[in-house]
Amino acid sequence: MYRTDNVLETVRMLQEENLDVRTVTMGINLTDCADRNMDTVTGAVHAKITRKARNLVRICDEVSSRYGIPIINKRLAISPASVLLEGHGPREAVRLAQALDAAAAAIQVDLIGGYTALVQKGITSGERVLIESLPRALSLTERLCASVNIASTRAGINADGVLMVAEAIVRLAMATRERHGFGAAKLVVFANSAEDNPFMAGAYLGAGEPECVINVGVSGPGVVKRAVERLVSSCPGCTLDEIAETVKHTAFRVTRTGELIGREVAERLGVPFGVLDLSLAPTPRVGDSVGEIYQAMGIARIGAPGTTAAVALLNDAVKKGGAFASASVGGLSGAFIPVMEDHALAAAVAEGSLTLAKLEAMTAVCSVGLDMILVPGDTEAVTLAGIILDEAAIGVVNRKTTAVRIIPVPGAKPGDHVNFGGLFGSGVVMAITAPGGGADFARHGGHIPAPIQSLGN
């Protein structure tokens, strides 16, 4: 017999507070599809993806029905595609991108990630081809997502790679200018990327991962927000450690829900279960916002003094609750701050309380980085490179993942409003302080050495 209040609390999380499984992501190793003939590569890629993942959507739907929990996205994350491009040129790269997109469409998954290059220490010919192909590869496909890891605590920051990726972002935005540069929303630049991250645009199957694996991303900012609201409402004088404790307990329940779904999907598919990524990932819906959690904590205007501490409190409590709930917590696991995808963050940008500089400070203590940021379309590649370098420095020195997903909107200036629709949301173009002021620094290129923290052995 179950306690009725426990049953009702679980039901409330699902029915009123938007708890869902944000993504079930199947990782597939495609390195055995490599060949000097791109026809052979694309044929092998299509065959392997459709063979491994043909039942993914059906089984996710079955498990979703069994537990009454929505599984919002079913996705694929492949091993870095740059491996398949060694010995090939940009034209073949685009063909590979289109083949991946077609395979994803054939099995009806939402997105496929792993059009990826890991260049933190140097760039191979295949990785160079992949980065140069990004504008065409992402503008000619729908479901394909890409990522480039340009830094790590062990390797330092590949400044040449940063410049290359920044150029690619500018060209990609221009290639999709009829959609306000939307193509750039499908590309993320990482420092210390996570090999088992199930969230897009940065999911890929990293080195050391199994041949095929199920990773799950569970969200639930609405659940955390309501829990904080109930605490503050019932106990207006509560302390910050009491808020942290409440978040931790809530994160426990959310994590357990995700692991239950992930393990059952994996078992039915006959593949190993990898990790459960408990990340508070918002959607543009009201009640599904990370920004609303900060507001519930007492940050009336997001970006005001105290915001960074609120992010740190939330991120840490989420990790602690998740770690207690499951031995399989991995990926990014923390609080995302994707500006366009979170209506409260987007509103704070629009009203001017949340600036790019403040967001950068917040990324030092959140789980990822500058995410879904709109900037003016005339922003130069060297300026984007400077932003990426700054963000990478935060990640490298603090031994954490940081990322930049930034969209130069062609023809737009600060304050303009852009709407991508759906889960990508809408927002206001942000101003960059002193754009170009650090251009000479970024243009030096080369390599920023690994920090002293890397010498841990």
Partner: protein
């Protein structure tokens, strides 16, 4: 050869007050009985309990009734005793689901719902409901036969009850174990009795 023990099902329904369980358990012990299973609750001031106990073979149902009624104390009419047989009946096969029903209270909800469940061969193992002003909340633990399609069942329940302004959901019990217990999820899935068709 006759068995050396006799098992009885005993139920008591009486106005609630402190000490009823003490009286019942003392009566069972005084007769040499051993309690094997028990379920007790209080509904709007009425105490009710059902228990299964094994007694020496010479203890009769009448003796149990008299002793329990005297120990409670309550009238004999409040105590019902039946032979329970020597074999514990196997539970109906199939996974357990938690059915929740919330919405506007109205007469006949349970009649309509339980008729549907019985028609489908779905066993009700536990049921709770609470009325709060115009709103009602039902929580039921049910065993769903493996042959049933859970999505069809959910669709049927919605079609049956949503026109009455009621929200109904049927979710596998593991969800509630996962969110409220600390047992490992892997073990939870591995020890699940039976399987269902979804």
């Amino acid at each position: 050869m006759t068995s050396s023990i006799a098992r009885f099902a005993i139920s008591v329904l009486t106005s609630d007050r402190v000490g009823i369980m003490r009286g019942i358990t003392a009566a069972v012990a005084d007769l040499g009985g051993n309690i094997e299973g028990i379920s007790q609750t209080v509904v709007q001031g009425y105490f009710t309990v059902i228990l299964i106990a094994a007694f020496p073979h010479d203890v009769t149902a009448n003796a149990i009734t008299d002793t329990v009624a005297a120990a409670c104390p309550c009238g004999k009419g409040s105590v019902l005793v039946r032979h329970a047989g020597s074999v514990v009946p196997a539970p109906p096969p199939g996974p357990r689901y938690i059915l929740t029903l919330m919405g506007r209270e109205a007469p006949g909800i349970l009649k309509q719902l339980t008729a549907y469940l019985a028609e489908k061969g779905i066993n009700i193992e536990d049921w709770y409901f609470r009325v709060d002003g115009p709103a009602v909340t039902h929580i039921g633990e049910i065993t769903v036969p493996p042959r049933l399609d859970i999505r069809q069942l959910q669709d049927d329940l919605r079609a049956l009850l949503e026109p009455r302004d009621l929200r109904v959901h049927c979710r596998h019990e593991n969800l509630f174990r996962a969110t409220n217990e600390i047992e490992s999820i892997r073990r939870m899935l591995g020890t699940e009795p039976g399987s269902d068709k979804v």
